[in-house]
């Protein structure tokens, strides 16, 4: 067909005698967003490659974060059960089996998870009666402080308060051979220490030394962990930046075309930033999920899924995921800033000539 014959010029407006030069409109954000989204859609294959770069980087970061959370949780659990074992062996050394005995516990201030685990262990070792004051657990009989010692074989004292609000005499009133096991060696009691009352700390000096050693080890571990996280963050930065750099530079020619059709530099820049933010978010969410899931599967296979799933702190895991997603999105945008700026500043002729 002959183009010239089919063009109905009447539908055009070539004769608009515009004598003053106008100003190009700035496209509203919604419009830019729509264009960026359709840009991702029409380049779906390429976009997915870019996204997978982000997924890879963030999955790496997230798997390191998750690994730390799982490891910490597992070692906390191990440490706790070790301490409970130590406490139980002291109890057994002092009074033998707890079966059919009468025991009591007094809590002053906040109790630790280890203390609670110990109470649970004592309760499950079959005492006839387990009285408690300041601790509301099932299987424990709540009584007043003064009634705690009546006919009891053993009284436990726990909690973080530096002083107890009772004297040892009152606490052990009614006990045949008064014995108090305290989680704190230096807790102060009101009044005098009565005759014939034995008060032993759960953890002697040796145990405290062990704790200190463990703390030193934990500090070294923390440093190592920080180092790994820094490295994994760097790997993430490089992976994400590389993915986005490629996707921008291979489009120089297209940018030139858009500029020659009237696109403003600012608009080009905005387009790429929106695109990279979207890609960054999508990639980070996927990466965080993949990284967390994979790590948990691996640790689950090593230590048992039940143990891993029960011991980890889900709050920490969520926080790590949020950190990874925010990191990924910001990194993606930051990685796109430079190439987008280069692209947007290109003279159209140079961009058109580019053959990247």
């Amino acid at each position: 067909m002959k183009i010239a014959e089919h063009l109905e010029f009447s539908t055009f407006n070539f004769q608009s005698s515009m004598e003053t030069i106008g100003t190009q409109v700035r496209l509203p954000f919604k419009r830019a967003l729509a264009i960026a989204v359709s840009g991702i859609r029409i380049r779906l294959g390429r976009s997915l490659v870019t996204v997978s770069g982000v997924v890879l980087g963030i999955a790496f970061l997230m798997s390191n974060l998750t690994g730390q959370i799982v490891k910490t949780a597992l070692s906390e659990e191990r440490e706790q059960s070790q301490r409970v074992d130590m406490m139980m062996s002291l109890v057994n050394a002092e009074v033998g089996s707890l079966e059919d005995r009468t025991v009591a516990v007094a809590a002053f201030g906040r109790v630790t998870a280890t203390d609670l685990a110990f109470v649970g262990r004592v309760n499950s070792s079959g005492p006839a009666l387990f009285r408690a004051h300041g601790l509301d657990r099932s299987g424990l009989t709540a009584v007043s402080l003064q009634e705690l010692g009546k006919d009891a074989d053993l009284v436990f004292v726990m909690g973080d308060a530096a002083s107890a609000s009772i004297s040892l005499q009152e606490l052990t009133a009614g006990m045949a051979s008064p014995l108090v096991l305290d989680t704190q060696a230096d807790r102060e009691y009101t009044g005098e220490v009565g005759d014939g009352i034995r008060r032993e700390p759960f953890f002697g000096k040796q145990a405290e030394d062990m704790k200190e050693e463990a703390e030193v080890a934990a500090r070294t571990e923390r440093f190592r962990v920080t180092w790994i996280l820094v490295i994994s963050l760097l790997v993430t930065v490089v992976t994400v930046a590389n993915a986005l750099l490629m996707s921008v530079t291979e489009r120089f020619r297209e940018i030139g075309t858009m500029k020659c059709l009237g696109a403003l530099s600012k608009f080009i820049r905005r387009l790429f930033l929106i695109e990279s933010a979207l890609i960054g978010m999508a990639g980070s969410v996927c990466g965080a999920l993949v990284g967390a899931a994979l790590t948990m599967v691996i640790y689950g296979a090593m230590y048992g899924f039940g143990k891993v799933l029960l011991s980890i702190h889900y709050g920490q895991l969520l926080l790590a995921a949020v950190v990874a997603v925010v990191c990924g999105s910001i990194l993606s945008m930051a990685a796109a800033v430079y190439p987008a700026r280069v692209a947007s500043r290109m003279v159209p002729a140079d961009a058109l000539r580019s053959t990247v």
Binding site: I3, Q15, I21, G22, T23, I42, E254, P348
Partner: protein, 241 residues
């Protein structure tokens, strides 16, 4: 009748750096371009004609000298005014088409309308209409690499017409096409000029282009060698036969 000047080049130079070497693609070109004329820029490849052409179209910045467009110094205009000129006043047709390869024919044609914030539906309707006029009504959703060279150039033409430009800059528009479609494009450009008063500026090797041009500018080694009116060329060629 005094003719309006739409674009004026004054002592334009353009220097490229190729490694350590400096290449003067343009070396002091001055020329007036009149509203509504059909101007062909001739010259061997490497003569600087494409460079000159890019400057008239606000696509490249001269090393020195000025380009005036619609009476204003083009390269001292702020970016948004330059973009407005590119979007509303100039339609570009390239030898290599320069279509966006990931966009359909329709998306390519509507792009200039989108960039001046026309509503999507309106742009789509108009884009389809223009594509139909250039005989691609049945290829609206095809990607450029699903189209033949001639069809691609029609998409490019449809795109260049989208915003009813005042000037059409066609850089070797027939260079990659067979002579039949080439002739169609030449006919179209001529018709646009004659019937609609659109200024046509082409860079070309095509002798058929010369026959319909009002003026022919010869550029050689970065300099304007001469400008001929068609009448003169015809007289010359007439005297030869």
């Amino acid at each position: 009748m005094a003719r309006e000047i739409i674009a004026r080049a004054t002592d334009v130079t353009r220097r490229y750096r190729l490694g350590a070497e400096e290449v003067w693609a343009l070396n002091g070109v001055s020329m007036d371009i009149y509203e509504g004329e059909y101007l062909s820029i001739m010259g061997p490849s490497g003569s600087g004609k494409s460079t000159f052409f890019n400057m008239i179209g606000a696509l490249d910045v001269p090393t020195s000298g000025t380009i005036e467009f619609m009476g204003a110094d083009l390269f001292s205009l702020p970016e948004d005014k330059q973009a407005w000129i590119r979007c509303n006043q100039i339609g570009y047709i390239f030898q290599t088409f320069n279509l966006i390869m990931v966009m359909s024919a329709l998306e390519n044609v509507t792009l200039p309308m989108i960039l001046r914030d026309e509503p999507q539906e309106q742009a789509d309707a108009r884009g389809k209409e223009i594509l139909e006029m250039v005989g691609l009504g049945h290829r609206v959703h095809h990607l450029p690499d699903q189209l033949s060279g001639g069809q691609r150039q029609r998409v490019a033409i449809a795109r260049s017409l989208a915003n009813s430009p005042r000037v059409i800059l066609a850089d070797e528009p027939t260079g990659n096409l067979d002579s039949k479609i080439g002739q169609e494009i030449i006919d179209l450009l001529k018709k646009l000029q004659v019937e609609q008063g659109v200024t046509i500026i082409t860079a070309t090797h095509d002798s058929k282009m010369l026959e319909i041009s009002d003026r022919i500018a010869w550029i050689r080694d970065g300099k304007l060698e001469r400008i001929e009116n068609r009448e003169d060329v015809e007289i010359k060629s007439g005297s030869m036969h």
